[in-house]
């Protein structure tokens, strides 16, 4: 069997350089404008938090279903969950920008606004910070527990460990569902505190699923190109392709579900969300659907495409950019409108550099975590089944 992934040389250097780039690009945003800076920072923090938190969902899901498709490359989500402490750090720093991002943090605005006054029991700073800390701690605890389970599997009878932790896997999925919904409502939806959408949590979950799967796909193919993961073949790529295809469709389904009902009912307090986006952001708003649904849908439709590493890499990269744009479209418009900073910035080169730099940082942390343990999870009871996958 193969040993560990070696994280050094070019990849490590590039990831460190890109991490610095992220800091500089975020600095540029803050230099342009206080509000632009905090918008970009919040999008940055949210995006990498969602990408990394998808990992605990994949691990719990595979655990509870005894799914074998994930086992040949299970170390990748395990390593991604190693980013969660840093994600927690990123999110906690965003508390410093609450005043800029969330209008409900200002007592004078809330006082003169009957709707916000009525929501004060939920939308207040101590409750917000407390819930955020709670959610981040819970995610980190789940990640730690997954790490422990995986280490126990290495040390003893994997099947026994998997069976004993079935309850943990099942409960953690439930906890994940509740916490990510709450996080979506708190951290993203409350940017527009007058507006509400009950499907919003599912929408964020769909995006999280797609971007997490895209990152896993990209990593699997890259590792394979470097000579690792010898057991992974085009049958496994086919699975990853199906996941990206299916979950992009799921994302689009939730997108249209939210849009359609609000459009049809035409109630002013609901339509304001889309009116705002159609007004200033119409191009990006629909481009978001093209890049996250239309493109992967038609490109990944055939079996051949799903089994082709180059096609998969391209689609995965596009989806990772697409869901960053999606996050930006959710956060930026209201704040830009509120503080009238449309002329200062938008979604452009600086934001793409932040994304690229963020991935440098993300890959640095994930790569380091990945290098610490044996890449092949032979101790997992479903490993043999997963390695001999047929399509």
């Amino acid at each position: 069997m193969e040993g560990n992934f070696v994280f050094e040389g070019k990849l490590k250097q590039i990831s460190i350089v890109l991490s610095l780039l992220a800091v500089i690009a975020l600095g540029v945003s803050f230099g342009m404008n206080h509000y632009v800076g905090w918008v970009d920072y919040l999008v940055f923090a949210l995006y990498f938090t969602t990408v990394s938190v998808s990992s605990i969902f994949f691990l719990s899901l595979a655990g509870v279903l005894q799914a074998s498709w994930l086992t040949p490359y299970k170390r990748i989500p395990e390593a991604m969950s190693g980013f969660l402490p840093y994600a927690a750090g990123l999110m906690l720093i965003s508390i410093a920008g609450m005043g800029a991002n969330y209008e409900w943090t200002h007592a004078d605005i809330v006082q003169n606004d009957p709707i916000l006054s009525a929501k004060v029991a939920w939308l207040n700073t101590p409750r917000f910070v407390g819930t955020m800390a709670f959610i981040l701690i819970v995610w980190n605890l789940i990640a730690l527990r997954h790490k422990k389970v995986s280490e126990m599997m290495d040390g003893s009878n994997g099947a026994e460990v998997a069976r004993k932790n079935m309850g943990f896997f099942a409960v953690s999925i439930l906890v994940f569902a509740l916490t990510i919904s709450c996080a979506a409502f708190d951290w993203i939806m409350s940017v527009e505190p007058h507006w509400f959408s009950t499907i919003f949590g599912v929408y964020i979950f769909a995006g999280t699923f797609v971007s997490g799967m895209a990152f896993i796909t990209l990593t699997v193919i890259t590792l394979k190109e470097q000579g690792y993961l010898k057991n992974v073949n085009e049958n496994h790529l086919h699975d990853l392709g199906k996941w990206m295809f299916g979950m992009s469709v799921f994302w689009a389904y939730i997108w249209i579900s939210q849009y359609l009902l609000i459009w049809y009912a035409n109630v002013p307090e609901e339509t304001e969300y889309y009116v705002l986006r159609h007004h200033h952001w119409n191009g990006l708003f629909f481009f978001n659907v093209v890049i996250n649904f239309v493109f992967p849908f038609f490109v990944l439709m055939t079996r051949k495409a799903k089994r082709n590493a180059t096609v998969l890499k391209t689609v995965a990269a596009v989806l990772l950019v697409g869901h960053f744009l999606d996050m930006y479209i959710m956060v930026a418009p209201k704040i830009f409108h509120h503080h009238d900073v449309h002329h200062v910035s938008g979604f452009g080169v600086v934001q793409i550099l932040q994304l690229l730099g963020g991935f440098g940082f993300f890959i640095f942390i994930v790569g380091r975590a990945l290098s610490k343990r044996k890449l092949e999870v032979t101790s997992d009871p479903t490993y043999a089944e997963g390695a001999h996958l047929h399509q």
Binding site: Y259, L260, Y264, H390
Partner: protein, 174 residues
Amino acid sequence: MKKDFVVAIFDDEEKLLSGAFKARDKNMEIYDVYTPFPVHGLDDAMGIKRSFLPYVTFLAGAAGLTLAVSYQVWTMAIDWPINVGGKPFISWPAFVPISFELTVLFAAHTTVAAFLVYNKLFPGKNPVIMHPEQTCNKFVVAMEKDKVSLEDAKALFSEHGALEVKIQNVDMNP
């Protein structure tokens, strides 16, 4: 109609797979393989080409989509325009659910129908029985007798752990 087949009987799917792969290498044409459950990799081993069903699905889906969109446009905007909440007659978001559903409906039903027709499956069809235990615990590789000789088959499949290789007269249209 009765027909003679050379049948090789296995009790293990791995042996069956290796035998079938070898037969393909030696250009020994396999008529069909009968197994109690789907054996992964058997399509490859038998050298079966990709099914054309996905194209049927795609075309049927496209037909469903076209029908749904054109019918909605016709009813909502041309034949009997109705003002719904002041929205334009042709409002794409309102058409999405029905377009989606009809696409899925056409694609799914046509695929199943095409599958049944292509495999000549219909109610009351009697199964072809190469070996009485082919739906229980035995795996059967069948080759047409005029294309493969018993000796060749025996030499090849015995080597891969066939329990028995013999000539079988099978009723094809019971």
